[in-house]
Symmetry: C2
DNA sequence: TTGGCGCTGTGAAACGCATAACAGCGTTCT
DNA sequence: AGAACGCTGTTATGCGTTTCACAGCGCCAA
């Protein structure tokens, strides 16, 4: 549910990769993890594509960005492909993430990080409520937002999640950018205005729900099924 | 962060409207509400477009779907445009929404609905935890998930939000679809497999965060600013 | 061994969307 | 009054992504 003016791209090696491709690669990798967990060794493009709800051609085209070629007879080796996608997506070193706002949503976000995502960890939480500050939350220290600049620079954090009420979001975002954050994930249903070199992704629950409600009353739309030949 | 195979569209009147247009219209309306609240009477396309982070041309094109024409001299009348977008987006009658999963995320969702969105209300909550069932939560009754079918049909609910752990999401979704739900908003980071006539929107926090983390380390991307002529 | 099959990787066409350019019109200034 | 300006609504152009189509190749069967 992103509204994008200009397609965001990233040069890697010598090629430029679309944002949509990145999202799909992340999705493929998650599916591959499940497959590996369930013991699957090899997978064909049409199988993986079906699981990802994508056409096989698109899957193969996306995989062109990754440095791995599958065998025409066995397909893709699940573990190897997962690793190659990881080599493409993952940062060279673990990435530290900050969370601002330790309300219900903030705690729910902590739950998302429990156990998984070793390369992406919440290493600092911020709030303004004295009752939530200066203690440990899920093994992560929490600070008052006024300490953001110091803590963020100290820990080298450049990714942050904003889970505060809408009224406070813009102010928090400004503080974070001032503290050196380069990418933001905003959950408050306010459109943030920030310098163009800061990457912002909005998870706008209000907008998304309205969208779902809108499409709920469509005239029994006809979508393609992915049935057999 | 939607992955779409075929662009979802809805015929309305005699025209077909893209999903992206709907999202932007929802966004425009929210901005118009803020403008009306702050006392603004009229607004030009380039002003509204700047607030929505969109080009003026795209804004005007989107508004072509709505039955309202602005004045070349005064621009758009804020209140009227808001109403016209509402007439396009809103259901004829208030729409009832169900929430499944009353954990931290579920409670955060309740918070989103406090006060606003009179046309979109959570009228039933479901869970499996006996401690959370058969009581009132934010003025909304909660039931055990086994009662879903009965309650949903009784209250005529056809939109639901899934805020349960990933492992339970598919099962919950199946139950909901069986209970007559036509549209789903899924927060669990699992890709649901459902019949094609059910509209599913995924808010995949894990994928989105990985995306943000990925684009956090881009080579100081160059984005256009929306400066003066 | 050899023909055929099915899958992968990739060039080329098609589609949808965003952007740019244009016509209409009311206002305003000379 | 007349002309020029600025904004809207709309039509055309361009671009990016998706889809189609095909070449290459290893395996399997005959």
């Amino acid at each position: 549910m992103t509204i994008k003016r200009t397609p965001k791209r990233l040069k890697l090696g010598r090629k430029s990769v679309s944002e949509l491709v990145v999202v799909r690669l992340i999705l493929y990798r998650r599916i591959l993890r499940d497959l590996a967990f369930s013991g699957t060794r090899y997978v064909f493009s049409h199988q993986l594509a079906a699981l990802a709800d994508v056409t096989p051609e698109q899957l193969r085209r996306d995989l062109m960005n990754v440095r791995y070629e599958g065998s025409p007879t066995r397909g893709y080796e699940v573990v190897v492909l997962e690793e190659c996608i990881g080599a493409f997506l993952d940062p060279p070193t673990a990435q530290a993430v900050a969370l601002v706002g330790v309300g219900n949503l903030g705690r729910a976000l902590f739950a998302y990080f429990l156990g998984r995502r070793p390369l992406l960890q919440i290493v600092a939480a911020f709030d303004i409520d004295p009752a939530k500050v200066d203690r440990m939350i899920n093994g992560c220290p929490s600070y008052h937002i006024s300490e953001a600049r110091t803590v963020m620079r100290e820990k080298g954090i450049n990714v942050a999640m904003i889970a505060v009420p809408a009224a406070a979001a813009q102010s928090v975002a400004d503080t974070l950018v001032d503290a050196g954050v380069r990418s933001l994930l905003n959950f408050a249903d306010v459109r943030l205005r920030l310098p163009p070199d800061v990457y912002v992704e909005h998870i706008d629950i209000g907008v998304t729900l309205e969208k779902v409600a809108f499409f709920a009353r469509r005239p029994a739309a006809a979508e393609k099924d992915m049935g057999s030949p």
